[in-house]
């Protein structure tokens, strides 16, 4: 129950061999004077060079709320509880997941557990992909696709191994799954630390701040995985009761297939904007400040998920507008 600020947590995902440990060691060795706690799940060939490295067990369990997608990482709850007992807070916590990990339970832990929520906040999910091998991974691994779908920042690593044409193709494939993430190219995981740490990507006030990078200028209809993103925009004000009823029902029924949901809403008779986000069916929302003059007041919602029914989602969102 202390009033100290929440410690930011960066989640590092990526397939085996994408360069996670190299990135981790770069972050830790860069001379920034910041103190990190590192949570890893397996010892790789490369050691992690930090004062405090915790070996986690990646233990996932289901919350007893009737939803099988509400899984959280019990080991993270315990580790964060333990870290908070140390005097002198950390500037950040970095959680590295195993290559085969589904990022959802990690992300959901930061919304579902009251103690974790009080002590920490999710800063960003950073996914590393191997530029050369990504096409093969997308073809044979559901997890590789999910890691991209969940990401706020995607590092296309090992750029020295591909041609420009191959790199563009990899980025195109990434965009079809997740047009909202920031893509950055790197070789040997060399990126400035600020590109991955301190991004505040889960801050409600900043969601949908970035314009999506749809390469063709519209939603991509050609896609090679069943995970894709759709977004809708409406001009009339939103009726909060209708929206709550719709989104509650939608997340309850389809939450398992909805990986990430983000929205900025302009409610009727309200001078503030409302921001909304969800990881599967665990949702979070709040007002994020006054509407500025000249704001077009267009409410927007984005879904990244599996087997999305675009017309149905569109009709649902449109029906949340006030009548008349």
């Amino acid at each position: 129950m202390s009033d100290t600020p929440q410690v930011p947590v960066t989640v590092l995902t990526g397939y085996l061999g994408a360069g996670k440990t190299t990135l981790l060691n770069r972050i830790l060795s860069e001379n920034h004077g910041r103190k990190f706690a590192v949570v890893i799940n397996e010892f790789g060939e490369l050691g992690v060079d930090n004062d405090l490295v915790v070996d986690a067990d990646e233990e996932v369990f289901e919350m007893n709320n009737g939803c099988i997608c509400c899984t959280v990482r019990g080991d993270l709850i315990r580790i964060i509880g333990g870290l908070m007992k140390r005097p002198g807070r950390f500037d950040g916590i970095i959680v590295e997941t195993t290559g085969l990990a589904d990022p959802a339970p990690v992300a959901q832990t930061f919304f579902a557990d009251e103690d974790v929520k009080r002590a920490t906040r999710l800063d960003a999910i950073v996914t590393l992909v191997d530029a050369k091998n990504l096409p093969a991974r997308l073809a044979d691994s559901k997890e590789a696709t999910e890691q991209i779908a969940f990401a706020d920042i995607i590092l296309v690593n090992k750029m020295d191994l591909v041609t420009e044409a191959e790199a563009l193709e990899v980025e195109r494939r990434i965009r079809t799954i997740n047009p909202y993430a920031e893509i950055r190219r790197s070789t040997k995981s060399a990126v400035p630390i600020d590109a991955v740490i301190g991004r505040d990507a889960f801050n409600l006030a900043r969601i949908l701040e970035r314009e999506p990078e749809f390469l063709s200028g519209e939603d991509d209809h050609e896609h090679d995985s069943d995970i894709l993103s759709v977004s809708f925009e409406v001009s009339k004000p939103i009726d909060p009761e209708k929206f709550n009823a719709w989104i509650t029902q939608l997340l309850a029924n389809k939450g398992q297939d909805l990986l990430r949901t983000k929205g900025i809403l302009y409610y009727a008779n309200e001078t503030r904007r409302f921001a909304f986000q969800a990881v599967h069916m665990i949702a979070d929302g709040d007002f994020i400040g006054e509407v500025k003059d000249g704001d077009p007041r267009k409410s927007k919602i984005v879904f990244i998920g599996r087997g999305l029914n675009r017309p149905q989602l569109r009709r649902g969102f449109e029906s949340c507008q006030v009548e008349g």
């Binding site: 233990e59 007893n64 709850i77 007992k85 140390r86 103690d115």
Partner: protein, 343 residues
């Protein structure tokens, strides 16, 4: 006399210290000294007979103390995030009992007067005897969330995902009785008569098993997680944290099934963060999230204030064996020791 501010027992009958680090656990040892395990890795030792003296400061762990228990051979047993279980004697001498893994945490320790010592590291429960010799390692399906010995020290229970495991310590064949219930179970307690096991769950509820017939008990309605469980000395009541009153479940007359719990010392909207029942009487000491500490009598509901709010959420609280002294500590490193004996 005009109006006076509420009187707190600690002002007239106690002492306090600002220790500078999270009080993770505390207990009174065999010789009556008080041991406190802190988030800075130290174990502090106070002597109730000489409250004004400086408290001993022993560097027990490199990192944080994660759990503390009174050691059956004297002093205190602690587990730390340095992967070690150590014993700190009343004079502050630190002796390592076991190194249980680099980068692994000894998250829970427990002990029994018979000399048994237990340390949980991940899924494993390591048992040691009074001389520090390793007895056995009991493996669980997932990480251990809490350890409890029964009153006789014959059985040990560990909570984990999807239930708890109850082991006979001396059994040749290490096969636990598995008490199943879906979900994540943390703190665990065995009733003093050994008939019930209760765990605190992730979902702001308790789960219990009546061992005679495996009957499940579900105790819910908490606004937050329960972290602290304590049975009264004869096991008639179970006191719990996690609500804005001390919630006490009756374990008699067919309860807790179908019975409403009793609530004590509620009404301020502040959550109870730690509880400890008196070793003889049906009296419970409780600490709150704002730092308030009080004692409440179950039968009458009468409340006696012990320490004022304002020094951090109470994270640990315990009585000495005879019930003459009460000690507590907070997340911000405040600790108090109060003498409640007749004068």
């Amino acid at each position: 006399m005009s109006e006076t501010a509420p009187e707190f027992l600690i002002d007239a009958r106690g002492t306090s210290r600002a220790l500078g680090a999270w009080v993770v656990g505390l207990a009174f040892g065999r010789d009556g000294t008080l041991g406190l395990g802190l988030g800075d890795g130290s174990v502090r030792i106070a002597r109730p007979q000489a409250m004004a003296e400086d408290w001993t400061n022993a560097a027990a762990h490199d990192g944080a103390v994660l759990s503390l228990a009174a050691d059956p051979v004297g002093g205190f047993l602690t587990g730390g995030d340095d992967g070690r279980m150590v014993q700190t004697a009343p004079d502050g001498t630190v002796t390592e009992i076991a190194r249980l893994g680099a980068m692994k945490w000894v998250e829970h320790v427990a002990a029994h007067d018979s000399g048994l010592r237990a340390a949980a590291v991940g899924k494993q429960l390591h048992l040691f005897d009074a001389r520090g010799a390793a007895l056995k390692v009991l493996a669980h399906p997932t990480a251990v969330g809490g350890i409890a010995f029964d009153a006789k020290g014959k059985r040990v229970a560990c909570s984990h995902y999807n239930g708890a495991s109850l082991w006979f310590v001396a059994s040749k064949e290490d096969k636990p009785r598995v008490l199943e219930w879906k979900g994540s179970h943390a703190s665990i307690a065995i009733s003093p008569d050994g008939t019930h096991v209760v765990t605190a769950m992730q979902e702001n509820a308790l789960h219990g098993w009546r061992l005679a017939d495996g009957q499940h008990m579900r105790m819910s309605g908490y606004p937050s997680k329960t972290r602290s469980l304590s049975f009264t000395s004869r096991g008639r009541w179970l006191a719990t944290s996690g609500a804005d009153a001390v919630v006490i479940w009756p374990f008699f007359g067919g309860g807790p099934m179908g019975k409403a719990p009793t609530e004590l010392a509620g009404g301020d909207g502040v959550l109870v963060s730690a509880v400890a029942c008196h070793p003889q009487h049906e009296v419970v000491a409780a600490g709150f999230a704002d730092g308030l500490v009080l004692i409440a009598e179950i039968a009458s509901g009468k409340v006696v204030p012990v320490a004022a709010p304002g020094n951090g959420a109470v994270s640990a609280i315990a009585w000495n064996a005879t019930g003459t002294h009460l000690a507590f500590g907070t997340e911000t490193g405040f600790a108090g020791l109060v003498d409640l004996s007749r004068r």
